[in-house]
């Protein structure tokens, strides 16, 4: 059982070439806008025909170019949650959810619809129209509608991007629960690394139409395999580097030499470390460097310091790395004088090939 995808589709500008095979229940598909994420979901659902390849879900062939199989969307069991939810504006919430349940007798339809509305906590708006409920409620209705037809694979296309931040948090919790209860594969497409990290155990990173990494989320975030993966997963400190020995790399832009725990296998590449993985250090030492503060940006709970390594900063734009810390840590540091020392844990410094 599981998902097997191996497709090619020529698009304007690039070719989508996706290989993805998984028994995993929830896969996050992370990619920048225009990387072909949505197109992938459309291909699985049968809304767009790939040029070549195969799509097999739970042993059922949805698409096979060689065998000329292209199951129409209505015969594929996919639940699609659209970015704008795509509810039927002329039907009530109840009717929206029951839309795909034609083949069941009326009483069964009502039962299923009611059970879903109860599960997603939308029973009291059964008789309203989509335009009369909030965005968060619309998302739940869309999810209920997709789940009503008991899909084998759930396709979620950036379901949180149309929602306010304060709603997002709450709804993501609900979504987590719903996905846990759902017995089938789910593909969750997003450009937001936080969403994918929270909701999925495994993440596929899409870049220029191809799957670049497919691994557990910890692995993807800690050991990115390429510059693009490092960037899309939100790594802010990346610089060109040369291999000096198996475990050290020289970083000319920062004027330092870094040690890593993982072996470096190519002469040229990039090193990186996440802004929140940098630590405070008491004194000089291995992977410890003196830094000067160039600039600072505060958000309600976190502070980002822009640091220059090795010498005093000349203006706010003259910095090498970003360091994300809590407000308490910031208070402590403010008592110190520049320069102070930061430590880049060799276990968290990564090296990616050119």
């Amino acid at each position: 059982m599981g998902l097997y995808i191996d497709i090619k589709k020529k698009l304007s500008g690039f070719t989508l070439q996706i290989k993805l095979s998984s028994e995993q229940e929830i896969i996050g598909v992370l990619g920048a806008s225009g990387a072909g994420k949505s197109m992938l979901l459309h291909c699985i659902a049968g809304l767009v025909r790939p040029d070549e390849g195969q799509i097999i879900v739970n042993g059922k062939t949805y698409f096979d170019a060689a065998q000329k199989i292209n199951l129409p969307a209505r015969y594929r069991k996919t639940g699609f949650l659209f970015q704008n939810f795509a509810l039927f504006p002329h039907l009530t919430i109840e009717e929206n959810i029951a839309f795909g349940l034609d083949k069941f007798p009326k009483t069964d339809q009502q039962q299923k619809t009611f059970a879903l509305m109860k599960r997603l906590n939308i029973t009291d708006m059964a008789k309203r129209y989509p335009s009369q409920i909030s965005g968060g409620q619309q998302q739940r209705v869309a999810l209920a509608r997709a789940l009503a037809v008991e899909p084998e694979v759930l396709l979620l296309d950036e379901p949180f991007s149309a929602l306010d931040n304060h709603l997002k948090n709450h709804l993501m919790k609900d979504m987590q629960l719903t996905l846990k209860e759902f017995k089938g594969n789910a593909l969750f497409v997003t450009h937001n690394m936080e969403e994918s990290y929270r909701l999925c155990d495994h993440i596929a990173v899409l870049n220029a139409g191809q799957v670049e990494t497919f691994a557990s989320k910890e692995e993807v975030f800690l050991h990115p395999v390429s510059l693009e993966t490092a960037q899309i997963t939100g790594c802010k400190n990346i610089a060109a580097a040369q291999c000096k020995s198996t475990y050290t790399a020289e970083v000319p832009a920062w004027g330092i030499t870094l040690h890593t725990d993982t072996s470096i296998l190519s002469p040229n590449g990039f090193v990186g470390i996440r802004a929140n993985h940098i630590m405070f250090a008491e004194s000089a030492g291995n992977n410890c460097f003196p830094v000067w503060i160039a600039d600072e940006s505060r958000s309600p709970f976190r502070t980002t310091l822009y640091l220059k390594i090795g010498s005093a900063a000349n203006g706010t734009d003259d910095y090498h790395i970003q360091w994300e810390i809590s407000r308490e840590q910031r208070e402590k540091i403010s008592k110190l004088q520049s320069p102070f020392y930061v430590f880049m844990d060799p276990g968290r410094v990564f090296f990616v090939e050119n």
Partner: protein, 228 residues
């Protein structure tokens, strides 16, 4: 003096039948063309829209060529002893040909306005294309379809040139209101002509106003934005 009411009945009969046929044909053609992705798109659209820009006499001439005694369809019907030319059936055909593009164009525009995700959502829910069409596309395009129908009705009601060519002006049989106006004016019966002018004006205006009102009422009922 006995007043001849027949043009009114003939006009209404022809227009109603033509509108029903145009409605079905126009919807089907519009929906089909919206989903058609082939390379003949431009040409097909041109052919379907052509009667809108051609003089009705050209449409009439074309119909005569097809269903006249020596035309291919005319010959075929002749084998069963059926003659259409100069009957009210020919007037219905003329109305359909001339008013069809209005239905087709307007309905197509309305279908194209629908968010493709909504139609895709319906498809992934396992329903047939037929249900997608009747339960989603048509209701969502309803304002446009209603406008299209009203326009086709009004155009059909006012059809003159092609009708005169293929159905003639036989009082009590094929003489519609527009044709009655023409011949009344020609014969100097200005009062009769004026009467029919007012009749056709009020019928067409009424239909369009009713369609608009019905549409607005429906919209308020269903999509009352924000109302709790």
């Amino acid at each position: 003096m006995h007043f001849d009411w027949s043009p009114a009945f003939i006009s209404i009969k022809i227009t109603l039948i033509a509108t029903i046929i145009i409605f079905l044909l126009g919807l089907a053609a519009a929906w089909w063309m919206v989903n058609y992705r082939g390379r003949w798109q431009g040409l097909l659209d041109g052919i379907l829209t052509l009667p809108l820009v051609l003089p009705p006499t050209v449409a009439g001439f074309g119909i005569l060529l097809l269903i006249g005694k020596n035309g291919p369809i005319g010959k075929l019907l002749g084998m069963f002893d059926i003659n259409i030319i100069f009957t009210w059936h020919a007037a219905v055909i003329a109305s359909i040909v001339v008013a069809f593009p209005l239905m087709y164009k307007t309905a197509r525009g309305a279908f194209e306005q629908i968010d493709p995700n909504i139609l895709n959502a319906a498809r992934t829910l396992g329903v047939s294309e037929w249900k997608v069409f009747w339960r989603v596309s048509v209701p969502l395009a309803r304002p446009g379809i209603a406008a299209a129908t009203a326009l086709a009705f009004a155009r059909s009601m006012g059809e003159f040139g092609a009708t005169l060519m293929v159905a003639g002006s036989i009082p009590g049989q094929t003489q519609t209101i527009p044709i009655a106006i023409y011949f009344a004016t020609l014969g100097g019966e200005m009062r009769v002509a004026l009467f029919w002018v007012l009749v056709i004006l009020s019928i067409s205006l009424t239909v369009i106003v009713i369609m608009n009102n019905w549409n607005n009422a429906q919209r308020k009922l269903k999509l009352g934005a924000g109302g709790k």
